[in-house]
């Protein structure tokens, strides 16, 4: 079973910026234990572009699809046998990243 694991930051109360070494170590462990599928940090939401081509012409707009205090700062894709395993890892990940984590299964 694969889960999308989103790291959520908060503009008004951002998590600390010195988490990189701890996250790297955690990633190594995810790989060693067979959970790691993909991981990536994201550039600031100001770097986002939204494209809407449902109408006659494609419309490009600057910025994220929804403006909010909380935003997606990075993602993982994990392989885990069940939600309890994913939640246990996510509990650690939240501490390590100093940010909130959302766990959501792929269909």
């Amino acid at each position: 079973m694969q889960y999308l694991v989103s790291v959520i930051d908060d503009k008004s109360n951002p998590g600390s910026t010195d988490r990189e070494p701890a996250i790297s170590a955690f990633n190594k462990r995810l790989i060693a234990e067979g959970h790691w599928v993909f991981a990536g940090g994201l550039a600031d939401t100001t770097a986002a572009t939204v494209i809407d081509n449902r109408g006659e012409q494609a419309v490009f707009s600057d910025g994220p699809f929804v403006e909010s205090k909380e935003y997606l700062a990075g993602v993982w894709v994990w392989e885990a046998p069940d939600l309890d395993v994913a939640l246990k890892l996510a509990t650690e990940a939240s501490k390590i990243c100093d940010r909130k984590i959302e766990v959501r299964p792929f269909l």
């Binding site: 069940d82 939600l83 766990v103």
Partner: protein
Amino acid sequence: MSVVDVPAAITRVHHEEWARVVAALTRRFGDLDIAEEAAAEAFATAVERWPTDGVPPNPGAWLTTTANRKAIDRIRRESKRDDKHKEAQLLYDDDPPEPFDAIDDERLRLIFTCCHPALAIEARVALTLRMVGGLTVPEIARAFLVQETTMGQRITRAKAKIKATRIPYRVPPAEELPARVSGVLAVLFLVFNEGYLATGSDTDPVRHDLTAEAIRLTRLIRALMPDDGEVVGLLALMLLTEARRTARISASGELVPLDEQDRGAWDAALVAEGHRLVRERLAASAAGIAPGRYQILAAISAVHTSARDVRDTDWSQVVALYNQLVRLDSSPIIALNRAVAVAELDGPEVALATVDRLEPKLAGYHAYHATRADLLRRLGCSQKSRAAYDKAIELAGNTAETAYLTRRRDQLG
């Protein structure tokens, strides 16, 4: 068995066997939906057939077999209709039972799955009452004053989340067990409290169906996990509270506070059982096992129910227990209840000072204002007391409590 006894037998078997049938089917078919529906159909068949065929010698086995057949029928029907159903995602469980699973009753898996922390608390409550308690959706909807469709959706969504996210169907491993058990107990305590202090202007002030169901499920968990001190604590707390149920509401439907209750009307058997459980935990505490919050709350209840007259209450013991509880649980509601005991020991003035400090956290809670109103009344501050009663009446949701508070306010000089 005479025909007259059959409905009673079905009710009894429903109480005893429902959770076992649902749990066994969930284990076999890996799907809560199929298990629930097949169990319900099996009981409906029993209602139809037992009056003429008689109650089978082993009703549980009969129901499980019947439900199994119903489930297989449904799966066949659906696989004919839609091949994808053959590959229906099944609840995940490939763990070989570990030695710790000596408590490997199927019903425990069911309880832990229904009370999983990834589900919203309302969903946990509803799912537990449906899957473990065997209450119908309309019954649960009535208990929580929501529309049947809303309650039905709540249960359906919870089952869908269990399936989609693969919430495992198992008893959590030892290291996670204390936290998960406390999650289960929170659900049961919520059901009990909703019964004990029912909300809603059209609702009976005490919902005995809910308190009885909460006690029944807590007894079940105690039977399944006899060594867990908090389970014993919660059961004792519920029994000692339930024992006072009839004395707590007057003939005119008004709440009777503890100090005014007719103690002779308390249920002596429930009090005795509750006291026995509390003593059992006191022995464990003496052996060095620190009690959790339910055990301490039960001990407080035991002190109250040990006093034949309210004047015999050992208030210093009550305050000592609250001091112990405050160290475990910093909730302002615990601090408020502690202040009520402090008022008896050190006087209303000392208590009021403590209560007033809780204002920022409890301003929206009726019991905060009711407590203040009572303390102010005892201090002779009628005007302030009246204002506090007004606020408490405005916020109280229980009809018996509103009636009591109104009388108290109107008696002020």
